[in-house]
Symmetry: C3
């Protein structure tokens, strides 16, 4: 049924277009489950998922937790506040302990790029990267691509504009890989300090203003400005950012009528996007959240070696 042979999901960079499509197709099947009277399938009954979040993220943790519940898996959460596990112990030792406890799948959020791969190479447990530093956040890219395909019917040939802090964004990096592999045209936009020209080497266009590129966009994906921890030397003032890169009501008027507006959340209303644009019919921000559940079910199911849907 599927071309998926991996035990881990570490990055979009390593996936082929066929593998990405396999995840999207499986996600579509699981999305059907969400419309049933009883939203559970026994696919992972008796299997254990560990949400190992060294860096906190309530929303991603919950999405994986609910995806696991729907597959009838058992879930254990390890948060940074429950730090005694890792005290005086290396990441590898902690993970080997989780494997010794028969953790079938470890969902890892970690502040260091490469942490998920490091574990994947050393453990038999499946490792799902839920964000590693500024490197990748593959399930976010998969749910973004799923949402676009669901609305547009395809990815190839679409023009996707990603706006914001690209340099430090794992969401951007995973999206770029996924979109290019599936044949989309990608333009990155933002302040020159945050969107260096070097990105062009990946095969994308780079722009430091958006008013000229928005009219041609099929999809606009706005990244969250984490202004509380944004590095001062890279980031303009908030007012200047909104003026230059915010999707204001006025600026939304130059978008195509069927342009999709996306955001990985949580949104800063009035900063990346005006409040009424976030809630407008072109916004698929909440669809992304819903689709995240189906995509994560698919990823857990495929990595656990699932063969047929229950």
């Amino acid at each position: 049924m599927t071309t998926w042979k991996r035990k881990d999901l570490l990055s979009m960079q390593e996936l082929s277009a066929d593998e990405i499509t396999a995840v999207l197709d499986t996600s579509a099947a699981f999305k059907q489950v969400g419309s049933r009277q009883i939203k559970k399938v026994p696919a992972l009954r008796g299997k254990t998922l560990v949400n190992f979040f060294v860096e906190p993220s309530t929303r991603t943790r919950i999405s994986f937790e609910l995806a696991a519940f729907r597959l009838s898996a058992d879930v254990v959460n390890i948060s940074p506040t429950t730090s005694s596990l890792t005290k005086g112990e290396t990441l590898k030792d902690t993970a080997r302990n989780l494997q010794a406890l028969h953790a079938d799948i470890i969902v890892l959020r970690h502040q260091s790029a490469g942490a998920a791969q490091f574990l994947a190479e050393r453990l038999q447990s499946s490792i799902v990267n839920a964000g590693d530093g500024a490197h990748e956040h593959p399930t976010q890219a998969l749910l973004d691509v799923f949402t676009i395909r669901e609305r547009k019917g395809r990815i190839a040939g679409l023009h996707i504009v990603i706006i914001g802090d690209i340099l430090f964004s794992r969401v951007a990096r995973s999206n770029i890989w996924a979109l290019l592999k599936l044949g989309a045209r990608v333009t990155l936009a933002g302040p020159s300090t945050l969107v260096p020209r070097a990105f062009a080497e990946m095969g994308v266009a780079v722009s430091h203003s958006i008013d000229d590129i928005l009219p041609a966009a099929d999809v606009v994906n706005l990244l969250r400005i984490q202004h509380e921890r944004q590095q001062k030397q890279f980031f303009p003032s908030l007012g200047e950012y909104v003026h230059l890169f915010g999707l204001t009501r006025k600026r939304a008027e130059i978008l195509k009528p069927d342009c999709l507006i996306m955001h990985p959340g949580p949104i800063n209303r009035g900063i990346e996007i005006d409040s009424e644009i976030a809630d407008s019919p072109r916004s698929v921000i909440l669809d992304q959240v819903t689709n995240g559940l189906a995509v994560r079910m698919a990823v857990l199911y495929l990595c656990a070696g699932g063969k047929k849907l229950g």
Copy 2:
């Protein structure tokens, strides 16, 4: 089977006597489940409950969590320490995200009066108010009323005395509404700063001493003195409070032999109540805890639109 048509439980003020009775009758049915060999029913299998506690409360959170488990629902907990969810995001946006994740029921504890209603008006998910500021705590009132009815066989005509910090108590407010609707006579007692005469407008009696009213009480409900955060300008010294309003061993002698002694917990032994009175046969404090489980099962079940018991 029931007159319940609501998707939410927000307050006792909005419920009719028939609706309250419907919850109590359903609770009684669920209490039977607790005496079975296997204490679970499949009523909410595949449904998701989110315990969204912006203000912490371990005991209420656990009661809802166990109630959900017995109905075979899946439970996700969001505590204030897992604050990243709400960072830079409005309550409404957070809740809409939970709805997008197919949260069937959101149990909300929040420091602001009206928070539960605000969400209920904007979401399709069922909202259960687990305490909103000094406004209401309806499941506490329901479990209190259930406990009284279980022991006394009725509510109408009984004389209930509620003692303590009424002004800032959501427990008191919810109890007053529930008891009056069911035909009880209610007297509020406590320091005049905490029990203003204005409460008489609700249809209750107000007293600033208790020795004259205790002999006629069928039920005494002692509210918790939260002396660590009690507002200094309203509150007498702890010693003075105990002297005037504490249910001491001596004072308990003037109660009717079958007067019920209640407390929402956690109790301050030696402050609101003497230790041996808290553990005496007339105390139903632990019955309240047990009944809370059945009442919350009923509330979750009814709000989720349950038709028949499994």
Copy 3:
């Protein structure tokens, strides 16, 4: 099938050799469950386990949580950060509330010796001691003994050397009781401040150097040095400790070829043990973790009064 009649597991001191053997035999049966396709049995379906950890311990909490999941029990976690439960409330009152919520089993980790027994005498709920101060940690001893028996086929007649901070170690204390009851020979080793001669009264040998005793050991159990909270007046410098008591690569050469190397974890690589020795074939450190799951399933099952395996 079993000689187990207890509702609680409080200490190894109180168990007979027959009772210990009953736990080990039941654990072996449960370990089989871990190799099945679906790793769950319905033995405790509908029962509730509360992980009540007043002192934090992520790894022990997770082990009990996973054990409960495999028995199909529902689990509620109470951590020290969710402290509102215990605010202004005695341990006994908190526990009585948990019992009123139908907690069938309370797993207690507490900083005070005797806390588990205190609750066991006052509640109908089963109490499992998950560590009480410097007193006992019985499930750790049971999993240690299980691991030895699994590898060596027996306990009687073996020579077990326990190295480290014995004085303040509940792990050591529980191991000593278990090993002696099952007929092992036990030698305690470490600095004289941490391994006082008085231990000899328990029926063990005491040594303040290890090079002379290692060659005769069948098992070496290294306790974790908690140097961040080790009491300065008792503890030598870290370098001196490693020099005198660390299981270095060189020192490992004098061990028997089939000597088992154990550690309750988390290990401090390079302190109690050299990294390559911790990962060598003689090390059963990760087996201990895996066996902990089976042993805790057995303990929960037996204390809950289980009669036959599902």
